[in-house]
């Protein structure tokens, strides 16, 4: 009997070892001699496109089998066309990868045209960065403390349902500042020009855009200043800090809130804000395979993706082009967001944000 147990144990170990080594070999060999097509859902030249065109040559080197990688742009419907394409039509053979900001709120609030279901897709990994909010010097000549006396702010945005607008509207609402919400600004360029002219008081950008362009022409020219930055929240409910942004002397939003209001933020709006920040900012840019793609493909791509964190050559390129190192949050954290927030969204929050969007759409 004992002999039988030992034989069984040895057999199981062999099977497991065989399986594991087979899986490793599969991941090693899966992409050898193959070509991966990365689908970027926006036209060439924009922030997303530039990021992935910078990243992909380095990512390629770290994927076992060193496949060829090409980038194709499939713009349309605010990124929805490419997302739907990879979800519905792309073959699950590991050779088509969606490289894009994920449109989590589009799925949660069932926006028109959003058929993609991220909880059915295969997540490879995510990237995150802070969002910098800057305000005209006419409004805050001496610094962010001036906001105590500000009654109303002319805030630039795209439309009430855009992630950027929701984040900024909520931030200002919590500070008790009246908002004149001026929508219709496609991208930062025209909005920043309006801020320079004095037609707008406030706008927001990714930290990389801020560093690459606006820091010099807005702050450097004395037209405005960065007042806070937004980021997601950790398990303890504290806003995640980014060293590079802190070094520039830009405080976190919760710090600014405490300074202006004299107390820590709390309440229904704050909980909604935190929920929203985690949905939209725990990770933003990301890579996905179509549903039912092979595990070996996902494993190989993920291995390459996360090796980028320690690839100093890539990080140096990132600092040169985007002003900061690229931060890739752990896979488990990103998958957790997909499962908990999008796959199974809190109905109260969904209703809250539908009402919120409706309020500002009037």
């Amino acid at each position: 009997m004992k002999q039988l147990r030992i034989v069984s144990l040895v057999f199981c170990v062999c099977v497991l070892a065989g399986g594991l080594s087979e899986s490793t070999v599969q991941a090693e060999e899966f992409y050898a001699g193959k070509t991966i097509t990365c689908i970027v859902p926006y036209p060439p030249g924009g922030g997303t496109d530039t990021f992935f065109r910078t990243m992909v040559p380095y990512w390629q080197k770290h994927i076992p089998g060193k496949p060829e990688m090409i980038i194709k742009n499939m713009a349309g419907a605010g990124g929805m066309t490419a997302n739907n394409f990879v979800y519905e039509k792309a073959k699950p053979d590991g050779l088509t990868v969606l490289t894009a900001p994920w449109l989590s709120m589009a799925q949660i609030t069932k926006q028109p045209g959003a058929r993609v279901k991220y909880d059915e897709m295969v997540l490879i990994g995510g990237q995150t960065e802070g969002k910098v909010i800057y305000i005209s010097n006419k409004v805050v000549p001496n610094g962010v403390a001036d906001l105590k006396n500000v009654k109303m702010i002319k805030m630039g945005g795209l439309r009430a349902s855009s992630n950027m607008d929701i984040r900024n509207l909520l931030s200002l609402e919590m500070l008790g500042i009246q908002i004149k919400h001026i929508t219709g600004y496609r991208g930062g360029a025209k909005a920043v020009a309006a801020l320079m002219r004095g037609d707008l008081d406030m706008f927001a950008s990714n930290y990389s855009s801020w560093k690459a362009t606006w820091e010099k022409s807005v702050q450097g020219e004395g037209l405005g200043k960065a007042v806070w930055y937004q980021s997601a929240f950790d398990k303890s409910g504290n806003q995640i800090s980014f060293d590079a942004i802190e070094k520039d002397g830009i405080p976190r939003y919760e710090v600014v809130y405490e300074m202006l209001k004299g107390k820590k933020p709390a309440g229904e709006k704050w909980e909604a804000y935190k929920w929203f920040m985690n949905v939209s900012m725990l990770f933003a840019l990301s890579a996905w395979l179509p549903p039912n793609s092979p595990d070996a493909a996902a494993q190989a791509l993920r291995t390459g993706w996360y090796k980028l964190s320690d690839d100093e050559e890539f990080q140096a390129a990132s600092v040169k082009r985007f002003g900061a190192r690229t931060i890739l949050p752990p896979y488990e954290l990103c998958q957790g967001v997909v499962n908990n927030y999008v796959g199974n969204p809190d109905p109260k929050m969904v209703k809250y944000f539908k009402d919120f969007i409706a309020k500002y759409s009037k």
């Binding site: 060439p44 030249g45 713009a75 349309g76 066309t81 739907n84 920043v192 362009t213 010099k216 759409s361």
Partner: protein, 667 residues
């Protein structure tokens, strides 16, 4: 002094190796990309950008800007020879360039176009260099209210571009602005005219609309009339390139004015290259006394847009470099390239990196000169294309129409839009509705709506209208309207009523009535749908355009009916016979077959993919319409397949339409 020494330092940098080599390479690539309809500088920038990652800034920009600067020189080829805009910047060139080619004067058109292109490029570069230190306050004067007034001013140009009927021009403006409202409202979370079709969440792509409006009717015309590009035999054509160069010098003042328009339109972020040629063309008509020949092959109609579109490049670089504000998609790529090189747009480019900034200026200047010389040499051969059998050209052009359209958003909807606008374009051409007002309104519509809504949200009670620049522009709008109305009245006297070859000059009341009815139905239906939009701002523009369009179109329908009645009386015929004559004049039966072939090709494209269907379309055309041998047909088919497979797929990495049948079968 420091400024001048940096200016000269910039020149030295460009002439250093390898920068000068890359500059030549960029120019060579740019000439080819500009010559292929639908491809253009944007694609070129995206294609070349990855190669610059490891290069030094000056060689990198010599390659990128060398290519970018000259696509608006070589795009003239398609505009003149084929009547198809090579890029969005050469739409207006077709109005007089193509009639010149049909008169056997393509060489003259090329001579004038390339001379003023070089001049425009050099002028744009120099004006950019001179304006850099002072451009900032000027740009800051133009906010959303000023942009709105600029677009209104732009729309007043339709008065000069409407052919015989200014009323039809206004109706087309309404139609163009309404068409531009399809898709997500920029300012609201409201998809307009969406009907559950994902494609309609976007604005309609301009390339598909323009190729449909202009290219399909032109190919159809060559096909049904079985003509060459030139209506005049080669031995009777005595116009030379030198004639064109002389004309360019004779019209130097017009070229300077239009180049200045090009620079200043380029400087306005958001207006883009689609507007610049129309602005210059409109100015050329408005500022000349003898307007009668415009649209019929007036060389000034070539000089004006070609001087402007090359000068535009220098203007467009200014806000990108000085503020980091890209004016259009191409400038967004250039901005990306600056960032990749570690250069920060803004004041640094005018202080720490002034030599590099001037190297960009010199790159533009030198590239334009090289391209003009190269094009003059090359176009000696190209001009001969005007005299060969038109049927030989159409299959190749069909390839570029299909692929150029596809590049809009790289979705199947682009082909459908191209077909719809192709039918509209044919009907308009056959019935005396000028197409330029529709294009201008379509291009300006989204800018106009967005600027208007932002202005209203920014300042209450239309107080923004009182801003100084707005008031100046308002005066210019009024002046332009007065001049346009006077010009139309004068032009009526100049125009020979028997001449029907120009835009909006064809006389065909029955077809005109069909177009009016189509517009009426669209306006009424679109107006009713607009009432269901949930927000006031989303429904505002569609309702205004549809209401105005409905009233004016009703009047046009009534006018068409009166005209038909009088024709029936004067020709002593009945309606059936008269309709038959009008259909024959429009070559309706043959045209329907051609359009049917295109519809079939698009439908089959869905099932069998573009790599099969586009070469098959070329084969079908060359065999059944061109009546060429199977060997020639095979050559066309192989060319079609190779261009799609190697150029569009393997080199450019575009997303191509794959076969639905193969997908269903699991391949």
């Amino acid at each position: 002094m420091e400024y001048i020494s940096a200016f000269l330092e910039g020149l030295t940098l460009v002439f250093q190796w390898p920068a000068i080599g890359y500059l030549f390479l960029g120019v060579f690539i740019g000439i080819w990309l500009g010559a292929i309809p639908g491809v253009g500088g944007f694609t070129g920038l995206v294609l070349l950008l990855p190669f610059t990652y490891t290069m030094e800034p000056v060689p990198a920009f010599a390659l990128l800007l060398g290519m970018f600067a000259v696509t608006s020189t070589s795009d003239t080829i398609a505009s003149v020879l084929l009547g198809i805009p090579g890029t969005a910047a050469s739409q207006a060139t077709i109005l007089d360039g193509n009639p010149l080619a049909r008169q056997g004067k393509a060489s003259k058109a090329f001579g004038a176009a390339f001379t003023v292109s070089a001049f425009g490029g050099v002028f744009g570069g120099l004006l950019m260099a001179a304006s850099l230190p002072i451009v900032r306050p000027f740009l800051l004067k133009f906010g959303e209210p000023e942009f709105f007034m600029l677009t209104v001013w732009g729309l007043t140009m339709v008065g000069s571009l409407s052919g015989r009927s200014i009323l039809k021009g206004i109706v087309l403006c309404c139609f163009g602005v309404w068409t531009a409202t399809i898709g997500y409202a920029e300012h609201d979370a409201v998809p307009r005219y969406y009907f559950g079709v994902e494609y309609l969440l976007n604005h309609l792509p301009i390339v598909a609309c323009i190729l449909g409006l202009f290219a399909i009717p032109e190919m159809l015309d060559i096909t049904v009339k079985e003509r060459n590009i030139s209506d005049v035999p080669k031995d009777q054509s005595n116009a030379t390139m030198l004639d064109g160069i002389k004309e360019a010098f004779r019209n130097w003042w017009l070229a300077i004015r239009c180049a200045a328009i090009g620079v200043y339109v380029g400087m306005m972020p958001g207006l883009g290259q689609s507007v610049v040629d129309w602005a210059a063309y409109g100015h050329a008509i408005q500022s000349t006394k003898d307007k009668g020949k415009f649209g019929l092959g007036d060389i000034r109609g070539v000089i004006a847009p070609e001087a402007a579109n090359n000068a535009h490049r220098g203007g467009a670089l200014m806000p990108t470099i000085t503020f980091g504000i890209p004016g259009d998609a191409m400038m967004a790529v250039v901005l990306g390239a600056l960032m990749i090189q570690g250069l920060r747009p803004g004041p640094d480019m005018l202080t720490d990196h002034l030599d590099i900034t001037f190297s960009l200026v010199w790159t533009l200047i030198i590239a334009n000169i090289i391209a003009a010389v190269a094009m003059m040499i090359w176009s000696r051969q190209l001009s001969k294309l005007a005299f060969i059998n038109g049927m030989m050209i159409v299959p190749v052009v069909l390839l570029f129409i299909m692929m150029g359209t596809w590049l809009g958003t790289q979705t199947f909807g682009d082909w459908i839009v191209m077909l719809i606008f192709g039918v509209i374009g044919y009907m308009m051409k056959a019935s005396g509705w000028a197409r330029p007002p529709l294009v201008i309104a379509f291009v300006l519509g989204p800018i106009m709506e967005n600027s208007f809504l932002i202005s209203n949200r920014m300042v209450d009670n239309f107080a923004w209208m009182l801003r100084p620049v707005c008031l100046i522009l308002l005066v210019m709008v009024i002046l332009t309207i007065v001049l346009s109305v006077r010009g139309v009245i004068n032009r009526r006297k100049d125009i020979d009523l028997d001449v029907e070859v120009g835009e909006g000059l064809t006389h065909n009341p029955i077809f005109s009535f069909y177009v009016s009815m189509f517009m009426l139905v669209v306006f009424i239906a679109a107006g009713i749908v607009a009432l269901t939009f949930p927000t006031y701002s989303a429904k505002q523009f569609p309702l205004i355009t549809c209401s105005l369009g409905t009233v004016l179109t009703l009047y046009l329908c009534w006018k068409d009916i009166q005209l038909i009645k009088s024709e029936l009386y004067s020709q002593k015929t009945d309606l059936a016979e008269y309709s038959h004559r009008c259909a024959e004049k429009a070559m309706f039966r043959v045209s329907s077959r051609f359009i049917g072939m295109m519809v079939l090709a698009v439908a089959l494209g869905y099932f069998f993919g573009m790599k099969v269907v586009v070469p098959a379309l070329m084969a079908a055309y060359s065999h059944f319409w061109g009546k060429f041998s199977w060997k020639v047909t095979l050559v066309f088919t192989v060319i079609g397949f190779c261009v799609i497979h190697f150029f569009y797929d393997k080199l450019m990495h575009f997303v191509l339409l794959e076969s639905a049948v193969l997908r269903w079968l699991g391949f």
